[in-house]
């Protein structure tokens, strides 16, 4: 099996995730896209572990999974709060930081 297979698949997932983050307007959808990006990174870690024949990649993939779980928890809590305050989770309406 070619080493590039995994890496290219991860690259595709990553870019789709990036597209999702840029294009989506709904905050929950943006969070989903971020999950795609994180999974792409995980796939890379596993692939490199396989190529280098050690297990450190596995360990860090597990760490990334844990971080992702925390990120989703906090992110959704924030989305809920935004929704409570503004009755909307459309990100383009949240432009109070406009310069």
């Amino acid at each position: 099996m070619l080493a590039v297979n995994f890496l290219l698949l991860a690259a595709v997932l990553f870019c789709i995730g990036v597209f999702g983050v840029i294009a989506r307007r709904n905050a929950v959808m943006v969070l989903m896209s971020i999950e795609l990006i994180l999974n792409a990174v995980n796939l890379n870690l596993i692939a490199f572990a396989l190529m280098n024949n050690n297990q450190e990649g596995h360990v860090f993939a597990l760490y990334v999974i844990a971080i992702a779980a925390a990120e989703v928890g906090v992110g959704l809590a924030m989305v809920l709060m935004i929704y409570r305050n503004r009755k909307s989770i459309a990100l383009d309406e949240l432009s109070e930081m406009k310069g």
Binding site: V18, I22, V30, D92, L94, S95
Partner: protein, 853 residues
């Protein structure tokens, strides 16, 4: 991970389960502490049962370990003699050279876990069991158990009953951890746990400002010494680490490595001296030696069991233990071997006398005992400082029993006899009729403390004095004897005021105010002549009425402070004997105060008594004192199978043999003279004095004189109120100033508070302010004025024309750019994301291109 060092192969020392699992002794109370904190309040006895059971278990293990240690020593002495020649050439040669007298070194049982590794340096925690550890482990477990039993009754109903037992148990754990420490890091751990528990327990009734103040004072004073401990440990580590790694395969934190290194001649005398001084400063702080002794009497603000356990019999000997544990460092550092007048001995001698003198002017029975403790600790230090290692350690052992007994008796008196007061002059007197058992125990312990034959103190304290004289310190010998006489005197005074004469105050059943006797004058204020007069009048002239009135007038502000921890005594205000839970520990300790001296009786003194004591009766000497034999390195490192690691040629620098050596040192090759190449010593050859009848009679005579003088004085002053004595401090200027000097504790507290603190806070601050105003400000002003003139010039010529133009131009540019870039900062996340990723992509492309080309 268990790196239990194999025991000494060549001699086939016996070991056993208790010796190898001695770490349980410290672990069990630590677990019990957690259980008390977590579940204590829900348990039927409010958590006390965890403490008692855990300390009991520790005591059982410590006893088992003690028995096995004795077996181990015996196995070396008997089994080893035949084997040694065949197994170990060096050993055999050394032994042959020494003759049959030398006893083989008993390898300690070390089991150790590594809990932290850093760049090859291993930090261990574990147990290092030798005679000294065994002695103190057993002692601490035993005294802790008795004090906990005592506390069951004494602090019953206290609002922080559970926390009290938790802290007591944690303290025991900390002390045990320290005593069995196999390395200095663990020693610091136990040391600090004890400091913390001491703080918590002194301030147990922190609602009273005096108590919390005392707790803070104790903590901070000891902390000053702790800095010395840290520095000393660091010096020892950097001094000994390389040697330890090369020769023993351990590191510079290892106690055994430090011991061996100090005697190896590898370290410079300067290093050893610095380490000794800094470590001894720690010992001064912890063991209440001059000039840091001021915290210990104030520590008596804690509950009596705490005073009894921590501040008399166990924790305060931690400093003595520290010195005894790494004795080779002090031995070499202070050049004790050559009879140098060491720092330790000087401090010990000073402490003996000044603390004993202070005990004369105390009215609080616990403070008398506290100064007595300080004085006795001075004896231990004196012994250690003059090479009398064994008597000093033995004095730790015996002192624990009788001093703990005295404190518990004082607690019993205050609990049942004087309505929670500790004031001998106001609330005691004539108690011997009401509390016969307490009185008996007190008397036995007092006789032991003053060193009357055959009580325990004689066998240890007189040994110290004897050894000091034998080692050639004539002046300190007389200081020791003088201290013994003083001890007899102040203890007579305390005994007389407490148990004899007419009952006064609470002892007579008078309770004018409801302060429950915890009211004590605020000792932090200096005593003035006026207050003395009032006190003397109240005590000397009309003890009952005026004493009670003074108590009433002085202490109204304490009403209700402690109303909640002895509710069960309101119905019974007269003095009476305490309950069984209080008496049983006291009686056990009194019995030990009488008998424990026979653990190491001097044969000659035994003969004088008419007892037929053979050669083998000095049990402590046989089992506790490490033998100063040189052992070969491979065995010491626990690699019995490997080839002998020879030292580098420069490893052992031969030291000059001085003329003043004792007999013992030459034989063994340890201490002053250098061990053979490839061998190490773990303990120097200390000499032992041979007691003579004349010396025994001399010390007994001195004590008897002290007793006689004190009894005569007490009867004349307190009973007959001899007109020449009463009111002496009012009539005689000398007597008054002497009394004030002692009453104010040599003004040391005033010195610390008013001079050090005041100097730092007031004049120094003022000087700094003046300097700030007049020097720094003037400079600033001058610079400012000059700067202003220069500035005006620059402003007119350069600033306006040149700089302003540039600044304005750049401002305009920035403003225009900002306006131009404003749309990018849209406030929308998606835009930012696209910019981020896009920029990242562009940046990466640039890098790729640069890399490729």
């Amino acid at each position: 991970m268990v790196a239990a060092e194999e025991t000494y192969k060549a001699l086939e020392l016996s070991s056993g389960w208790f010796l190898e699992n001695a770490w349980l002794i410290a672990l069990i109370p630590a677990v019990a502490f957690a259980l008390i904190i977590a579940f204590g309040k829900k348990m039927p006895f409010k958590g006390a049962e965890f403490g008692l059971v855990s300390i009991g278990a520790s005591l059982v293990i410590a006893t088992g370990a003690g028995i096995q240690w004795m077996q181990r020593t015996d196995s070396a002495d008997h089994g080893g003699e035949a084997a040694q020649g065949a197994f170990n050439g060096i050993r055999g040669a050394l032994r042959a050279a020494e003759g049959a007298e030398a006893e083989p070194f008993i390898e300690p049982v070390v089991s150790q876990w590594v809990w932290w590794q850093n760049s090859g340096l291993e930090f261990g925690i574990g147990s290092h069991i030798d005679g000294l550890s065994i002695l103190l482990l057993w002692l601490v477990a035993f005294i802790s158990l008795l004090v906990q039993v005592f506390s069951l009754d004494y602090v019953r109903g206290d609002r922080r009953y559970t926390h009290f037992f938790a802290a007591l148990t944690l303290f025991s754990s900390g002390m045990l951890v320290m005593v069995m420490a196999s390395n200095t890091v663990q020693l610091i751990l136990g040391w600090e746990i004890m400091g913390l528990c001491s703080f918590m327990l002194i301030g147990h009734w922190w609602e009273d400002a005096y108590n919390s103040h005392s707790a803070l004072k104790a903590f901070f004073t000891v902390r000053v010494g702790d800095v010395g401990l840290l520095i000393g440990v660091a010096i020892l580590f950097f001094g000994s680490n390389q040697w330890a790694v090369d020769n023993l395969g351990s590191n510079g934190f290892d106690i055994r490595a430090i011991q061996a290194w100090a005697l190896s001649g590898d370290g410079s005398s300067w290093t050893l001296l610095m380490a000794s001084v800094t470590l001894f400063i720690a010992a001064i702080g912890k063991s209440g030696q001059f000039p840091f002794h001021t915290w210990l009497p104030d520590a008596m603000a804690g509950p009596t069991p705490v005073s009894s356990l921590l501040h008399s019999s166990t924790m305060v000997v931690a400093g003595v233990f520290l010195v005894a544990r790494i004795y080779p460092v002090f031995w070499e550092g202070f050049n004790i071997a050559n009879g140098g007048l060491s720092f330790i001995a000087i401090i010990g001698g000073i402490t003996i006398v000044i603390a004993a003198l202070l005990a004369f002017v105390q009215d609080d029975i616990k403070k008398v005992l506290a100064y007595s403790t300080v004085s006795q600790l001075g004896y231990m230090m004196l012994g250690l400082g003059t090479g009398a290692w064994l008597p000093a350690v033995f004095h730790v052992f015996t002192h624990a029993f009788f001093k703990c007994c005295l404190f518990l008796a004082a607690g019993s008196i205050s609990h049942s006899g004087s309505h929670h007061s500790f004031d001998m002059k106001k609330d005691m007197g004539g108690l011997r009729k009401f509390m016969p058992i307490t009185f008996g125990a007190w008397c036995v312990s007092t006789l032991a403390l003053t060193g009357v034959i055959p009580f325990a103190g004689f066998w240890s304290k007189d040994e110290i004095i004897d050894n000091v004289g034998d080692a050639g310190y004539t002046f300190l010998f007389w200081v020791g004897l003088f201290g013994a006489a003083l001890t007899a005197m102040y203890m007579t005074r305390a005994t007389y005021l407490t148990f004899f004469g007419e009952p006064r105050g609470a002892a007579a059943g008078i309770h004018l105010d409801d302060d429950h006797g915890y009211a004590t004058e605020h000792r932090e204020t200096l005593v003035t002549a006026a207050t003395i007069d009032r006190k003397l009048v109240s005590v000397g002239a009309a003890p009952q009425s005026l004493g009670a009135a003074a108590a009433h007038g002085d202490h109204d502000d304490h009403d209700g402070d402690h109303g909640d921890h002895h509710d069960d005594h309101h119905d019974d205000h007269g003095p009476h004997e305490s309950g069984k839970l209080i008496l049983v520990p006291i009686v056990i300790l009194a019995v030990l105060a009488l008998t424990s001296g026979f653990a190491n009786p001097t044969p000659l003194a035994g003969d004088a008594l008419g007892l037929n004591l053979g050669e083998g009766v000095e049990l402590v000497k046989k089992y506790v004192e490490p033998r100063p034999e040189a052992v070969s390195l491979d065995i010491a490192a626990g690699h019995a199978g490997e080839s002998l690691q020879l030292l580098e040629p420069g490893g052992f620098v031969p030291q000059s043999e001085s003329g003043g050596e004792g007999e013992g040192a030459k034989k063994t090759g340890c201490g002053r003279s250098t061990p053979e190449v490839g061998t190490v010593c773990y303990f120097p050859a200390v000499s032992h004095a041979v007691p003579t009848l004349s010396k025994i009679l001399l010390s007994l005579g001195v004590v008897a004189m002290g007793y006689a003088a004190a009894i005569g004085f007490c009867i004349a002053f307190y009973k007959n109120k001899h007109p020449k004595l009463v009111g002496l401090t009012e009539r005689s200027r000398i007597a008054r100033s002497g009394y004030l000097f002692l009453k104010n504790k040599y003004y040391l507290d005033a010195l610390y508070q008013n001079v050090f603190v005041y100097f730092v806070s007031r004049p120094l601050a003022k000087a700094t302010y003046w300097f700030n105003q007049n020097v720094i400000d003037a400079a600033v002003d001058g610079v400012g004025a000059g700067g202003k003139r220069a500035g005006e010039f620059v402003y007119k010529n350069i600033d306006q024309k040149l700089v302003d133009g540039a600044v304005n131009a750049s401002g305009t540019i920035a403003s225009e750019t900002g306006h131009g870039l404003q749309p990018i900062q849209s406030g929308r996340v998606n835009h930012y994301a696209s910019l981020l990723f896009g920029a990242a992509a562009v940046g990466a492309i640039v890098l790729v291109i640069l890399n490729v080309s």
